[in-house]
């Protein structure tokens, strides 16, 4: 996982998968990197082939953190299979899913 800051936004990239093996480290890594200047988190899922409920839990945790700070979370370019998981769990209504 790679984290970098663009003005006001924390961008998360390089996630090959988001499941029980790395969900906690992703959640803690992102939470630790969210500073007071950060108003949004963009999570790039274009390389992510696999998301399970633990991964979704991590995303919800990040979403709750940003919501408490008045910010937002966007999910960028998920592949079809990952998008289906968002749809079946209705999380596509919670997160802004952006396809560029």
């Amino acid at each position: 996982m790679k984290l970098h800051h663009s003005p006001g936004v924390l961008v998360v990239t390089g996630l090959q998968e988001l499941n029980a093996t790395n969900a906690a480290s992703v959640r803690d890594g992102v939470r630790g990197a969210v500073t007071s200047e950060v108003t949004g988190v963009d999570i790039d899922l274009s390389k992510t082939r696999f998301v399970d409920s633990s991964g979704l839990g991590a995303l919800i945790s990040i979403h709750k953190l940003m919501l408490a700070r008045g910010g937002h979370v966007r999910v960028l370019n998920p592949i079809h299979a990952v998008e289906q998981v968002f749809e079946v769990t209705r999380l596509n209504r919670l997160f802004e899913v952006v396809k560029i």
Partner: protein, 251 residues
């Protein structure tokens, strides 16, 4: 009447449907497309069927047995005794020859919707709760489930409280839709569990496989509480009957 029945086992437009079993054995309104075809051919007066399904002929033959269920005599791919016989390619059903089945996933879905009411009225034990809402035997519906036709709910299905099913939905036999689940413009395959508050739209869910009808994207859901095979009871007379009925010497 003799018929040579040619069964495609996989088609480019719908590869996911032949992932688990030959294409003609994929679910189609309470049975398989092959079972509907055999019913249709029998209704048209067929007596003997030469069944051809390429390298998967043996597997398809095992599923239909010798054909007693339909009053037919079904034999393997050898067509020596079928000179001059009618040839039927299973890319549509005899009951609706103008309706293509396998061109694409939306076409496959639309074919089921087009035939839903007709097939439901022919199915033994299926009742119409209200216009367009057909429900099979031993199915339990929560009082507050919202059912909107056209809708097919098969035998031995459970629809949980707060669920939304239909319009344009098929829930096949032995499936379980947990509380608050939503199935709209979708098909739930036989023996499938959909967990609480899962939502299926323009999808085909069968066991853990989830297919998006418009994109053709297929994913295997990893979390069993979201989507999985419904656990079958250890002993079931219905299951025994389904497994053995083809082999019983019932005239």
């Amino acid at each position: 009447m003799k018929v040579i029945l040619q069964c495609p086992v996989a088609v480019v437009g719908v590869p996911a449907l032949s992932r688990k079993r030959p294409l003609v054995l994929s679910p189609f309104l309470g049975q398989t497309a092959l079972a509907h075809t055999l019913s249709g051919l029998s209704g048209e007066g067929a007596k003997q069927i030469c069944l051809q399904a390429g390298e998967r002929t043996a597997e398809v033959l095992r599923a239909v047995g010798a054909g007693e269920v339909w009053g037919l005599k079904i034999t393997g791919p050898d067509e020596r005794d079928f000179a001059g016989a009618r040839r039927f390619i299973l890319d549509s059903l005899p009951q609706a020859p103008d309706l293509a089945l396998w061109t694409s996933y939306p076409v496959w879905f639309d074919a089921q919707m087009a035939l839903l009411e007709r097939m439901a009225r022919q199915r033994v034990g299926m009742r119409e709760l209200r216009p367009g809402v057909f429900v099979g035997l031993r199915t339990r519906l929560a009082p507050d489930a919202r059912l909107t036709g056209p809708l097919w709910i098969g035998d031995n299905v459970f629809i949980g409280p707060g669920s939304v099913v239909g319009p344009q939905a098929v829930v096949e036999d032995d499936s379980y839709l947990d509380d608050g689940s939503e199935v709209v413009e979708s098909i739930v395959g036989p023996g499938t569990y959909a967990g609480s508050f899962t939502e299926l739209r323009r999808s085909f869910a069968w066991g853990r496989d989830l297919l998006q009808l418009d994109t053709g994207s297929l994913t295997e859901v990893q979390d069993r509480f979201l989507l999985s095979e419904a656990a079958a009871p250890k002993f079931s007379l219905t299951r025994l009957w389904k497994q053995w009925r083809h082999r019983l010497p019932i005239p």
